[in-house]
């Protein structure tokens, strides 16, 4: 039975990809320009680190790695599980109805319904940043893949939690999108910049620390302890996301709504 779920997930991802590349011109443009977008933005860091060299223990190579991991993970998220950004709309517009009549997990089905072509640009540029950081040897390649996948799962899990708010609060696109953007934004800045309380937040409610900082630490000096922590964290957020979505689905099944009557 699990094999069938896996086979379905594979087919869903493949179909999603096919749909994304269907409009060839738009696809290429999104990929190329997003990569350019990322490189252009990074000029800021490059220029700063030429002048400053070390920022609370972080050097240009570390920042390149941070950027690379977050960009690659983000790219992976919005290409493979691009539906996460649209969950709020799916919930509000009743698009989950069709999924509920199918014998496959609703969340997986919903996540695989959309894909953002620009994510491939993020993925490619992310990988380039990682290589460019000069801190990765070929032997580290498997760890790189693991770490990017882990960050991507955390992104998907958090997005699921944020956008699932729609089950209870109706159309809350702005807040959920803000939280999502905050998560991405914080992930892109070196963690030593942040003070006590904020750091606590960044390792709990808005796990930017686990998406960016911990992976960089692992890639700099892989240790079983760190990798284990990362795995536990990933599983934890994943379980939370599944739980909240499941609760939300039950509420969806009760049909209670918000309406502007009066």
């Amino acid at each position: 039975m699990v094999a069938d779920n896996v086979s379905f997930t594979r087919a869903l991802v493949a179909t999603n990809f096919k749909a994304t590349v269907a409009l060839r011109g738009a696809f290429v443009m999104q990929v190329v320009f997003m990569a350019l977008n990322n490189f252009t933005f990074f000029i800021f860091w490059w220029a700063l680190m030429q002048r400053v060299t070390t920022l609370r223990g972080w050097q240009l190579g570390d920042i390149q790695m941070l950027f690379g991991i977050v960009a690659a993970a983000f790219g992976l998220t919005v290409t493979v599980a691009g539906g996460v950004r649209h969950l709020g709309r799916f919930i509000e517009d009743g698009d989950l109805d069709t999924l509920l009549t199918q014998p496959q997990p609703v969340l997986v089905n919903a996540l695989g319904l959309r894909s953002q072509p620009s994510g491939f640009g993020d993925l490619v540029s992310g990988l380039i940043f990682i290589v460019w950081s000069g801190q990765i040897s070929w032997s580290r390649l498997p760890i790189v893949v693991v770490v990017i996948a882990a960050s991507a799962v955390i992104f998907v899990a958090c997005g699921t939690v944020f956008f699932s708010l729609a089950f209870w609060l109706g159309r809350v696109e702005t807040v959920a999108t803000q939280l999502w953007e905050l998560l991405v934004t914080f992930s892109l800045y070196p963690e030593p910049l942040f003070g006590g309380t904020l750091r606590l937040l960044l390792f709990t409610v808005l796990p930017a620390g686990f998406v960016g900082y911990l992976p960089v630490r692992i890639l700099r000096a892989p240790s079983l302890a760190n990798v284990t922590i990362l795995m536990f964290v990933v599983i934890g957020y994943l379980c939370l996301a599944v739980l909240i979505f499941d609760r939300g689905l039950r509420r969806y099944g009760s049909g209670s709504r918000f309406t502007t009557f009066g």
């Binding site: 409009l23 011109g25 738009a26 443009m29 999104q30 190329v32 320009f33 997003m34 350019l36 977008n37 252009t40 933005f41 000029i43 800021f44 220029a47 700063l48 030429q50 002048r51 400053v52 060299t53 070390t54 920022l55 609370r56 620009s118 702005t174 807040v175 999108t177 803000q178 953007e181 905050l182 934004t185 914080f186 800045y189 030593p192 910049l193 942040f194 003070g195 904020l198």
Partner: protein, 263 residues
């Protein structure tokens, strides 16, 4: 342009301003993001100061510098999104027949939005910068930033209009916008004053309006090599002219494309 014509466009501006002041959720989102960015950068500049400031300015004024550049940038409403959507929907074809210039009407609409966003974001900028640094720049500096910054935001809005009009030819202008915006970040010295960039980037920036849109008005708070009001005015006028010519040329080409190809 007669008074009646100006009145027409003023109406567009007024309507959009009224609407914007009612639908404030997106604006609150921008304000929250602004506060976060200022917080992050106040930490950043403090950390840089620990390593040794690469520029003759202290971290506090650099936070205010960012507050100013971000205020100018975030105030300009991203009207290219709605313009692209309208062009996709085909609405634009109908509006081309109306006795108002579609491009000018959209600009007026953008201006109305800007008029609402600028004060809210300006207040956010002031309060957050003060909260994070415990200091304010001299009043004269702030008094210079505000009017020039507002004009700069207006010019940025016009540039967004130009990008939106590209939707007549491009399937999706968003990718163009992304790169254009990041170029503006770098060449306009959004987060880093231009003098911190390598010489070749500073030379490239001179060919663009970006330094005069963001870096120049904001640099007043830095207190180092202040730009004179005269120079600022001169360059903003020149670039306004260039922008007006460029955008109207794009619009005229767009209209002829539509009339030739039938929408």
């Amino acid at each position: 342009m007669s008074a009646a014509t100006i009145g027409k466009y003023a109406a567009f501006a007024r309507i959009s301003a009224t609407q914007a002041s009612r639908e404030r959720n997106e604006l609150y989102g921008r304000m929250a993001f602004f506060a976060v960015i200022l917080g992050v950068f106040s930490s950043l500049w403090r950390a840089v100061a620990e390593a040794g400031m690469p520029v003759a300015a202290d971290p506090k004024s650099l936070v205010w510098y960012l507050a100013a550049t971000e205020w100018i940038l975030l105030s300009a409403p991203p009207i290219h999104i709605e313009i692209q959507a309208a062009i996709r929907r085909g609405d634009v074809v109908y509006r081309l027949g109306h006795p108002v210039s579609y491009a000018l009407a959209e600009f007026a609409t953008g201006f109305g939005l800007l008029a609402v966003r600028a004060p809210f974001l300006g207040l956010t900028a002031f309060l957050c910068a003060f909260a994070f640094t415990g200091w304010t720049p001299p009043l004269t500096a702030l008094l210079m930033v505000v009017p020039f910054g507002f004009v700069a935001s207006t010019l940025i809005t016009a540039l967004y209009l130009g990008i939106g009009l590209l939707a007549f030819w491009l399937q999706d202008v968003a990718p163009v916008f992304w790169v254009w915006q990041k170029l503006m970040f770098v060449l306009g010295g959004l987060m880093l004053p231009l003098e911190l960039y390598p010489a070749f980037i500073q030379r490239a920036a001179a060919f663009t309006p970006f330094p005069w849109l963001l870096a120049a008005p904001a640099s007043v708070v830095l207190g180092t090599h202040p730009v004179t009001p005269g120079a600022l005015t001169r360059h903003l006028v020149i670039w306004s002219g260039v922008t007006a010519i460029a955008v109207s040329w794009v619009f005229r080409r767009a209209v002829s494309t539509v009339t030739i190809n039938g929408g």
